[in-house]
C-alpha cells in the first residue's frame, strides 16, 4: 500500500510489503479506508529483481503520526525489508481508494 506523492504523482515506496492481494488493508497500521484515501494510498503490485528476503510479522496498532490521536488498527500480515525498494523492477497500480 503505497502513498502517491501529492507534488510529483510518484509512488513513495517504503519498507513494508504484503503478499496476499486480499489482505485487509485497514489492518496494516495505516488507517481506515477514509485515511487510506486521504493519504492517496494505492495498492501496488511490484515485481522484484531477483529473490529478496523479508521479515514476516503482524502489524501492530499505532497512533496516527499526524497527531489526531486516532489509533490505526494492526493485526495484518506484513513483510519488512528496508532495501527491497531498490530492487523493484516494475510496478503496477492495481487498486485505488
Amino acid at each position: 500500500m503505497v502513498s502517491i506523492d501529492k507534488a510529483t504523482g510518484n509512488p513513495k515506496f517504503g519498507s513494508y510489503f504484503f503478499d496476499d492481494i486480499n489482505e485487509d488493508v485497514t489492518k496494516l497500521g495505516i488507517g481506515d479506508l477514509n485515511r487510506i484515501k486521504a493519504d492517496e494510498r494505492v495498492k501496488i503490485k511490484v515485481i522484484l529483481d531477483g529473490e529478496v528476503d523479508f521479515l514476516k510479522s503482524k502489524t501492530a496498532n499505532i497512533e496516527d503520526w499526524n497527531g489526531s490521536g486516532e489509533i490505526f488498527d494492526g493485526g495484518g500480515n506484513q513483510y519488512y525489508n528496508p532495501t527491497a525498494k531498490q530492487k523493484i523492477k516494475s510496478y503496477e497500480i492495481i487498486q485505488t481508494y
Partner: protein
C-alpha cells in the same frame, strides 16, 4: 516562504480551480485524484493538487529552496504536532494554520522532535477541511 504563502493565499481565495491552476502551473499528468503541474515559478520544484468533486482537498509542494524550522514556527505557530510516519519513512510536522487549513512539513527519515530546530524543509502539504 513567499511561495508557500502565495499558494496558501490562492487556496483561501474565491478563485476557481482553473484560475488557481493557471496561477500555479500547467497540468502535465493526472494520477488518480492528483493533478500534477509543471510549476510556473522556478522556486517551486513540484506541485500537485488533489481534486475531488470539483474541490481542492490538498496540495503537495516541493520547493527549490528549503525553509528552516525556525522560520516555519515563526510564521505559522510554535504549537505544532510532530510524528514519524514509519510506513512512508518520513517525519511530519503539522501546523494548524486556521480552522480550515493544516500545513504539513515533511522530511525524509526519522528526525527526533528535539532535533527539529536544526532542520530545514522543502516538502510541504496543505490540507483543506
Amino acid at each position: 516562504m513567499k511561495d508557500l504563502k502565495k499558494i496558501i493565499g490562492l487556496i483561501l481565495s474565491v478563485k476557481s480551480i482553473d484560475e488557481i491552476i493557471n496561477h500555479l502551473g500547467v497540468l502535465i499528468k493526472v494520477v488518480g485524484r492528483i493533478n500534477v503541474l509543471k510549476p510556473l515559478e522556478a522556486s517551486i520544484e513540484n506541485i500537485g493538487l488533489v481534486i475531488e468533486d470539483n474541490i481542492i482537498r490538498s496540495v503537495g509542494i516541493t520547493l527549490s529552496e528549503t525553509i528552516s524550522f525556525k522560520d516555519l514556527i515563526d510564521e505559522f505557530s510554535n504549537q505544532f504536532k510532530w510524528g514519524y510516519n514509519h510506513y512512508d519513512e518520513e517525519t511530519v510536522v503539522n501546523f494548524q494554520y486556521n480552522e480550515k487549513l493544516i500545513i504539513r512539513a515533511i522530511i525524509e527519515g526519522y528526525i527526533d522532535e528535539t532535533s527539529l530546530i536544526k532542520q530545514s524543509f522543502k516538502r510541504f502539504e496543505i490540507h483543506i477541511k
